[in-house]
């Protein structure tokens, strides 16, 4: 057992050393905390200010801490939406020599929202469904990379706004495992755990009168299973057709693009006499639109935000009559003359309310809305001013929503 503090981190921030590691997390002084202790977790978790950012610190057994750290690192490398690990701190002792539990540190995901925060603010009617859809996409992506979660739930997930929808991120990998390939049993178990947990979490909101009255919690849990199954089949099923129907290869790829996936590799086999072809996607990567937008503009945004921005870029090209020229040139001009001026027009103090891409998406919505109201084409600059004054001002700050009011659930060690 080491007697000195051990820090394992890919790129350690020296400021980490200034935090009171000799104090149990539960008793950390308020001045280092970024938010009051909250959140439904079986471990003690605190959000802490560090070098102008926020980190999440979780007290957890040493072996489990290292394991989760490595798993989160592996998930980041695989490009799966998950929180980014900062490091593990081990060998903590109180001033009188008592051993303290190791901690796992992760970066707080900016502009992410815990599901309870979404339910405690004014809720749009379809939010629940959209959260479930986002979670289904995340679960399929995790399963495609061979990650078995073990404890899928809304509380182990964070949500970021993604245009009209949400993008889901994995927060807790404690029970997870990375495999070469998942068995059907592992996928089925994960899905069943997810269904039961989600229904439980929604029943809890119902009991707390945070859910609209006529919501069928069991049906929503079922929706996850359906969405997951649909997406999994679309991404992995093999499809056979006549040799004469080769257009179906292109159609399949297009369909997957529509769903937001790129096909990295496609298995194509023909039968012996060459009359039927069967295809099965072998490697699919999520983020079709966000990758395209990244390539064109360098903007790193969520998938549906990218769709929206790409649509606006297309409209810009059509409007400027530049469809014949290289897409990259037009994209660069759109970025510098449309996107950036719009986002920069937002006063600095309001920029913490939403991510730039999400703001731009809402500005486009707003312009459409005021144009229709006024019966004329409202220019972007004017629409942005109106958006800031009438919409953005009144939005809550979402850059760092850190937990919501729920009981801290004790670890098994509190027995």
């Amino acid at each position: 057992m080491p007697d000195s503090l051990q820090i394992t981190a890919a790129s350690p921030d020296p400021a980490l050393l200034d935090l009171p590691w000799h104090v149990p997390l539960e008793d950390w002084p308020q001045d280092v905390l970024a938010a009051l202790p909250r959140g439904i977790s079986r471990h003690v978790v605190r959000f802490v200010k560090l070098s102008g950012r926020v980190i999440a610190v979780k007290e957890i057994g040493e072996t489990v801490a290292y394991r989760e750290y490595e798993l989160l690192r592996a998930l980041s490398r695989l490009d799966v939406p998950s929180v980014e690990p900062v490091g593990v701190i081990n060998g903590r002792r109180s001033p009188d020599g008592e051993r303290l539990e190791a901690v796992l540190i992760t970066k707080h995901l900016q502009f992410s929202l815990p599901y309870r925060a979404l339910f405690s603010t004014a809720l749009q009617p379809h939010t629940t469904g959209r959260l479930i859809d986002a979670l289904a996409v995340l679960l399929v992506r995790l399963h495609l990379t061979g990650f078995y979660w073990g404890d899928v739930s809304l509380s182990n997930t964070l949500f970021r706004r993604d245009a009209e929808t949400f993008a889901a991120y994995l927060v807790d990998a404690e029970t997870g495992d990375l495999h070469e390939r998942l068995s059907d049993g592992q996928r089925a178990y994960d899905l069943e755990v997810a269904r039961v947990n989600i229904i439980g979490e929604l029943m809890d909101l119902e009991a707390g009168e945070l859910l609209e009255e006529d919501v069928d919690t069991i049906a929503i849990g079922g929706r996850l299973v359906e969405r997951y199954q649909e997406l999994w089949d679309a991404l992995t099923e093999s499809e056979s057709f006549d040799t004469g129907e080769r257009w179906r290869v292109a159609a399949r790829i297009e369909h997957l693009n529509e769903l937001g996936f790129d096909v990295g590799e496609l298995d194509i086999t023909t039968d012996v006499d060459g009359t039927t072809v069967s295809i099965r996607p072998k490697v699919v990567d999520a983020g079709h639109h966000s990758r395209r937008l990244m390539r064109l503009t360098g903007l790193d945004v969520e998938e549906n935000q990218a769709r929206r921005l790409l649509n606006d870029l297309d409209a810009y090209r059509a409007h400027a009559d530049r469809q014949g020229e290289d897409e990259e040139f037009a994209a660069h001009d759109w970025l510098t003359t449309v996107f950036e001026p719009a986002v920069r027009a937002v006063p600095r103090e309001l920029r913490g309310k939403l991510e730039p891409a999400q703001m731009f998406h809402e500005m486009l919505d707003h312009r459409w809305f005021v144009s229709r109201e006024q019966g004329r084409d409202v220019p972007m600059a004017e629409a942005v001013r109106s958006y800031v004054d009438t919409v953005l001002q009144h939005r809550p700050d979402e850059k760092a929503v850190l937990g919501v009011d729920t009981a801290v659930i004790p670890r098994i060690s509190d027995l």
Binding site: I40, S41, R42, I60, G61, T63, V64, R99, E101, Y148, G150, D151, S153, S155, T175, E180, R181, S183, D184, G185, Q186, A188, Y189, E192, V193, R195, V196, N197, I199, G200, E201, M203, D204, L205, A207, G208, L210, I218, G221, T406, A407, I409, P410, R411, I412, S413, D414, L415
Partner: protein
């Protein structure tokens, strides 16, 4: 409640040659607490996950009761993975926290209440059923989470290293609670751990695995008194058994100056492939401090003395054996002999003491196969 049967069940991961679990044959009785134990990579967790339906079974079968579940979906196997998930819902009553999975499954309300009440009685939670989790102490909240698994009345409980997250002190407390709860409920339980002490203290029976192969299954007493091979001998027991490789000549096992007479049956059991050698094991607590004159006395040079109050352990090495000293070592892998001595008469560091194995407490194994030679 039900029995669990592994019938030559194997799991081979794609791209690997050696099975992660190799033709496992194991029968677990109704209501039994069976512990799967072994070093990392031995196949214990894979075996548990095969039973849970999380790992494919490549050959053989798995049965719960008389039902072949080899190809049954995890959720239809009527098992509960305990401790996997135990977040409590703050707005729901304790009763609802325990029973919500039954509500999802469409169980009639009256049945849910009945089962929840039964579980609450076992868990000492009856008077809290209509309160919120917030009103409970830490230990009570934990029991609510246990109650969730209990009300489902599964045929089998599965636990995969549930205590690995705890520090040593809490691990001891919690393992006693789990063991006593299991006995009260009488539900067949399969428990995985890498910790042999946990296995010895919790299990009705223990199954030791190594490299995907079942080494031995038996009661804690069986495993301790009659280990089936050198691996089990070295793995079970703390501190570990001392194990030495001896040369056999003139009816005795020899190493350095030590000469231990062997029974005729033992000598008869030595095969050509053993090349005139035999492996002898003796536990630290199976040794008496004797004088040099004793037949079979083993000289040990004291390197370290560990005094624990009730016990004292000498860590030493075989004296006067030269290079052969490394042929005798602790089953834990270190090149040392461990002797439990009278805590009121401890030798000094640097002393040489002579010890003899108490009659009947010697274990002999084939040098070639490692299998126990029954005397």
């Amino acid at each position: 409640m039900a029995t669990v049967t592994y019938d030559k069940a194997s799991r081979i991961y794609p791209g690997t040659e050696r099975p992660a679990v190799d033709a496992l044959d194991l029968e677990i009785a109704d209501g039994e607490f069976l512990v799967l134990v072994g070093p990392s990579g031995c196949g214990k967790s894979t075996s548990l996950r095969m039973l849970a339906g999380l790992e494919d079974v490549n050959s053989g079968r798995i049965l719960i009761g008389d039902r072949d579940v080899t190809d049954v979906q995890p959720k239809d196997r009527d098992i509960a993975m305990v401790f996997q998930n135990y977040a409590l819902y703050p707005h729901m009553s304790v009763a609802d926290n325990m029973g919500f999975a039954l509500k999802i499954a469409g169980t009639p309300k009256a049945d849910i209440r009945k089962r929840v009440e039964e579980a609450a009685k076992i868990l000492d939670l009856t008077e809290y059923l209509d309160r919120k989790p917030k009103a409970l102490s830490g230990g009570q909240r934990q029991r609510v989470a246990m109650g969730r698994a209990i009300v489902r009345q599964p045929q089998v409980f599965l636990m995969d290293e549930p205590l690995s997250n705890l520090d040593a002190k809490l691990r001891v407390q919690t393992r006693t609670q789990i063991a006593s709860l299991q006995r009260r409920l009488g539900v067949t339980t399969v428990y995985v751990t890498h910790d042999q002490t946990e296995a010895l203290t919790m299990g009705d029976r223990i199954a030791v695995l190594k490299d995907g192969v079942l080494q031995q299954v038996g009661t804690p007493r069986d495993m301790y008194d009659t280990p089936a091979n050198v691996f089990v001998a070295g793995f079970i027991g703390s501190p570990a058994m001392n194990i030495g490789s001896f040369q056999v000549s003139e009816g005795a096992a020899q190493l350095g100056q030590t000469r231990i007479p062997l029974e005729r049956d033992v000598i008869a059991a030595i095969k050509p492939e053993d090349k005139g050698h035999i492996t002898i094991g003796f536990r630290p607590e199976a040794l008496d401090v004797v004088t040099q004159a004793n037949e079979g006395a083993i000289p040990i040079k004291v390197v370290l003395v560990e005094e624990l109050g009730s016990d004292a352990f000498v860590y030493g090495e075989l004296a006067g054996a030269g290079a052969a000293a490394k042929d005798i070592h602790s089953g834990a892998g270190d090149a040392q002999i461990i002797v439990r001595v009278d805590p009121r008469q401890v030798p000094m560091k640097g002393d040489t003491i002579w010890v003899a194995v108490r009659p009947g407490e010697r274990h002999v194994f084939s040098s070639a196969s490692g299998a126990r030679i029954t005397v």
